[in-house]
Subunit: 513 residues, 2 copies
């Protein structure tokens, strides 16, 4: 029992945290309750019920269906409902009149039945049409409103009265919904979109810094199995996960922008036709920067790694370029957040200078990146770290090779040690190593091995990728190239933010600087 009360406490704590994280959630819930109560009062009191009859329940349904989280989404849904109901109402009345005019007891239901089938098929087909998908709800409304009006009208005999009563009821529900949603602590989609974009800027900047920091910190000794990291679980990299969320945020931004377009000017977004779609564009350019961060992250967790002391050799340049770039991204985010427009040329120049310094450093020391200069690779432990099992085998192997004293590592024109045919003197030790690896494969307690064990005969000899030493060294070149490409894309990011600032008429500040 005490256990149960404890879990209840925890549950309460979770709910409390959830509310504290965004107090709008509680406000939204209370608003819905209030709106439903308001409409129900209409029915609990005698008068409206006497006028509209049972049709008044449609006002409750309208509130329950129309009340959305943001003002814009509510307007959008309300528009769908209003237009849908109106169209369906007009159509139903016309068809019902035609059917009633015929007066025939077979023709009448036939017309009505055929029209119901037709409306059902046509609306269902239209809502699949790509450009009409956003109005999916409207088509649903048309379908059921049409059916309800025409059928109950047919039964009750007065389709026009039914239609009008229902439309009034829906109008009352819509009116209450809009009133409560807009007047009591409105939650604006525009505001949400604005904050979401700023959050994305910060996520990308944080992820870049985190990625670079880990790349330089990491001495390669504690790499987890790749199989466990190829999927989305990087518990020690919160910024990376936020960056990933940024990559998947395109639909969220679009939905919010679509809702925001329905909102009247409000708060900080005071001028008409505020360029909400420009936010989506900036988000897209930012996403293209985030792709580079993902690629950097891929190199960081790649199985082919440059040796630690080679990475550390360029530490200061990489760090400087990264910090300047992250700083610029963060400044852009802050400017959008504060809706000011500061000239970016200084910080853009700064990041370009530091990137050029990085390029120059790579340029100067590019001999380090080719295998003919092995002053670095000699001083480190073996570089290949592909499949965990194989990499240890290779380290045995290369140890054997270097004991053997063959000059394979010195001359870049010789084939690498993996090629057994050209290293006949090493063949035995190679096979020994392979056998050792095979044993290890069967004792290794990873998921891989389980698959191998279950997998039948073919699984046992699934080959693994191998990397050459020189390619490993070139991984540093890849990393810096991606960083430089990130910086190159910042130009476009600055451009798009400038365009947004122009169109949204952000305040100019520090013009003369």
């Amino acid at each position: 029992c005490s256990n149960k009360s404890f879990s209840f406490k925890e549950w309460f704590h979770n709910v409390w945290e959830f509310c504290k994280a965004d107090v709008n959630r509680v406000i939204f819930a209370l608003k819905v309750g209030f709106a439903v109560l308001l409409v129900s009062l209409l029915i609990l009191f005698r008068a409206p019920y006497d006028v509209f009859g049972t049709n008044i329940i449609w006002s409750i349904l309208t509130v329950a269906i129309m009340f959305e989280y943001t003002v814009g989404a509510t307007f959008n849904r309300g528009f769908n409902r209003a237009v849908g109901s109106l169209l369906a109402g007009v159509l139903a009345v016309v068809v019902a009149q035609v059917a009633l005019c015929s007066g025939h007891h077979v023709v009448e239901p036939t017309i009505i039945g055929a029209s119901i089938f037709l409306i059902g098929a046509v609306t269902s087909f239209m809502k699949l049409w790509p450009s009409l998908v956003p109005y999916e709800y409207g088509f649903r409304v048309i379908l059921f409103t049409y059916c309800l009006i025409i059928v109950s009208g047919y039964r009750m005999g007065s389709p026009i009265k039914t239609a009008m009563d229902r439309l009034y009821s829906i109008a009352i529900g819509a009116f209450v919904t809009v009133l409560v949603n807009v007047l009591i602590f409105p939650i604006w989609a525009g505001e949400q979109l604005h904050n979401e974009l700023v959050k994305n800027f910060n996520a990308v900047a944080d992820a870049l810094e985190e990625c670079i920091r880990k790349y330089l910190e990491d001495d390669g000794s504690v790499h987890p199995e790749f199989i466990s990291t190829v999927m989305d679980e990087f518990p020690d990299e919160p910024a990376y996960r936020r960056c990933q969320a940024t990559l998947n945020s395109s639909s969220k931004l679009e939905t919010l922008a679509n809702s925001a377009k329905w909102e009247p000017p409000h708060g900080r977004f005071w001028h008409c036709s505020y360029p909400w779609s420009e936010y989506v564009k900036v988000g897209a350019v930012l996403r293209y920067c985030a792709y580079e961060v993902m690629a950097l992250h891929g190199v960081l967790h790649s199985e082919i790694q440059a040796p630690y002391n080679l990475r550390i050799a360029f530490q200061s340049e990489i760090l400087e370029a990264c910090n300047d770039a992250a700083e610029l991204v963060r400044t852009l985010g802050k400017d959008i957040s504060n809706m000011i427009h500061t000239p970016k040329s200084t910080s853009l120049k700064k990041v370009h200078i530091s990137t050029e310094r990085l390029q120059r450093a790579i340029d100067l020391h590019s001999y380090l990146l080719t295998s003919s200069h092995d002053n670095f690779s000699n001083s480190t432990k073996p570089l290949t770290k592909l499949s965990h099992t194989l990499s240890s085998t290779l380290s045995d192997l290369s140890y054997n090779l270097s004991k053997g004293g063959s000059g394979n590592f010195e001359s870049s024109t010789n084939p690498p040690p993996q090629d057994t045919t050209s290293v006949p003197t090493q063949a035995e030790s190679y096979h020994e190593a392979m056998k050792k690896q095979q044993r290890r494969l069967h004792s290794w307690p990873s998921r891989d091995v389980e698959v191998f064990d279950m997998g039948g005969p073919e699984m046992d000899n699934l080959p693994r990728m191998r990397a050459l030493e020189s390619t490993a060294t070139l991984s540093l070149a890849t990393f810096t190239s991606l960083l430089i490409e990130f910086v190159a894309r910042l130009d476009h990011l600055v451009d798009s933010v400038n365009e947004l600032a122009e169109m949204a008429k952000f305040k100019h500040e520090g013009q003369g600087v």
Copy 2:
């Protein structure tokens, strides 16, 4: 008038193409029409109407709301509706009985009003809770069913009768919906998920091949402006866009898998608890491969490019590795499509061998990638192709520099020509070039210039990224590294497909090969 009839013809053609692309769309539309007609007949005939009264219209509403594209989604929605209606019905009856028992003309409406407010607030809050988001529709149903039953019950005096009639009506609607949806040309979410995953495999393979082909074909002469290509428009790269769609398909796969879980065993997916969630996992690993393709595509359209003849030097190795990798991805897709399980070790070995050959080629010729060997860069035109305007300026500039005969390009330790302070003798021609660039900037008819013109004083001197020659050459190293990383990730893709094949009990084939 002839113009109008022509556009109608075109419209008709579009609709026809839309139907032909997926005939399921037409079937779905006709099915909805049929289901609505079926339910309406219940009302057009006298008998059911006499039993249930106006509550029978709820069966129409149920059909219109419950009828989804796939069987699984219909079941899921039906479950939400059924449980929601049931819960709301029970709750409403209990509260109504309590309120009626009080019998007081003030207490009664107060209890009802308070309960309505509470239900509205609680359901709205719960549907925001992350793990309950999939049941959003269920909470909506609870809210409006509760309000409807309790309010109309209060007015009509018999909440239990109202609740029961409504539940029967809903059950009739749900029954018709399920019957029509399952028995007449059912559209299975599982089938759709299966095909979607296979499509994703093909998209990634196609995009990889397309990207590599363009990288090797492209002689750098017809690069479009980067600003127009940073966004999603690559009209001449259909496979790339499909690959991008793959990146954004995670939510689609998850939705389909969620729906598929509701479906009974059917067709090819005959055994119970078919591992639909495994499809989502394979999709995620595939997406990680697609990230590398995106990075490759980024290098392809990067502003920093390796010279054409350097790229072409490794053509055969790159092409072979790429073709083998694409072949493997396509084979995996085909195996999933045919639900067979063939051993992949041979083709995996093949792609590893060709990747090793590529690595070895890079290894052998790694001296080409460093700036101290300029036998390649001399024979080509200048490599920097950043912002279009600046790159032509730089080509002027480097031309001037080479005319000037300074040894800057030969020695990698000297600062590059862009740095004016260290190349005082070139200062004049540099400034000349800058002026020329400035003029060009104002006459260039791109979007950039417009922004510059509007952009006020600070826009005019927005700096642009510059790249050093050696970094440009290293871009090839980046490209090959990314390709190798793609191949490394294929190991995990093969693993995950094997796991899927195990869990879904695909037919084993070619076991002995």
